[in-house]
Symmetry: C2
Subunit: 245 residues, 2 copies
Amino acid sequence: MAETAREIADELRERIRSGDLAPGARLPGEPALVKKHGVAKETARRALMLLVSEGLAVRRKGSGTYVREFQPIRRVANRRLSQETWGAGRAIWSADIGERPMTVTELRVYEAPAPDDVARILDLEEGAAVVVRDRLFTVEGEPVQAAVSYLSADLVRESAIAQEDTGPGGTYARLAELGAKPVRFVEELRSRMPSQEETERLHLTEGTPVVEIYRTALTEDGRPVEVNRMLLDAGVYVMEYHITG
Amino acid sequence: MAETAREIADELRERIRSGDLAPGARLPGEPALVKKHGVAKETARRALMLLVSEGLAVRRKGSGTYVREFQPIRRVANRRLSQETWGAGRAIWSADIGERPMTVTELRVYEAPAPDDVARILDLEEGAAVVVRDRLFTVEGEPVQAAVSYLSADLVRESAIAQEDTGPGGTYARLAELGAKPVRFVEELRSRMPSQEETERLHLTEGTPVVEIYRTALTEDGRPVEVNRMLLDAGVYVMEYHITG
């Protein structure tokens, strides 16, 4: 009996897991699968699409289907602690950031009414003015993360935070000068499929979710002074957190 | 000119964002879209599928397409800190856990050779024996998380950790008795689309990614004593982390 698309996908998946088909390798094409398994072209196509929809493979137009390469960027939320507690070579997923510099592009800084959820988190009145810093992070020219920061305009309007160049030490150094130094952070994460607009902005490949992170910066007395909404290409990021019990 | 599937999807997406179509609401069906927009049935179908693939809507067989409900479970990695620093009503995504108890099902405890990545993290020889605790967490009968813990068999084999019931205080209390009390934790997260097997185990709906978390528990002197690999239904979880700057 001829195999089903799922059985063929199972076989290819096992070859990917075992390393027989390495990251970046080209998967057998439809004609090769048709010949090997004696199935219809449509069945071969569906087998490959199953692997794409699982995020294990990516299609390249006019070229074929390839094993997805996952050489992630490691995002360490509490980098200072990480140096002490977690030696080299211990991570589950190896990562290569440090070798590939991250660049800020498409920076826009402007004043606008706070979105409802941001106003609530920042303890502002509905529609109060915020300074918005909207930018895209790229690695080797490819977008990997979009980030939008919101800060009370009353607090930061006169500082360099409202300028494109925030100066030495960046936003947090300026907040400290304004008597609002952030010392604690809360990050809320969820993961979901992207909208079409997000897919285009981050150049996401098929079958790639996004990780949405809201990071709130709090002062010593618990005052929320910044909300940063980040949208990460889940195909290139590993997030790391260090927790003291 | 008749609208495209994408234009119809844009319109429905806007109605979902604005709240006009609330979480759980039924979206207009194919016949209604055909009539309203003067398009082919196939175009209406593709418009709805676009929203499903974005994770904004879910299909129910023989019933229609509905706005996805996102009433997440909040997973707070460092719960002790969270009480002090983050008051009620401040979260971006509201969550209802606490009202819906989580149940452990399908618990299996057994000894096996350590998978390569686990052996590396636990500083064990290749293929060394580990005690494996494999279980599924459900809420209201629905699976939300699969978790597999690995601990050195030489360390825990004689303790209740190797039994189904780990006793009062659980695994960490037993580890403390063995002189291996965990005091620090590292969590590595990534998000990706699930395999077919994972989709079935977690009863995932279409367009739902998974969040994969490896949590390593370390003793005071930095010795890794447990690795817990968790697989979360991204459609029902918000992860929260508290970070001290």
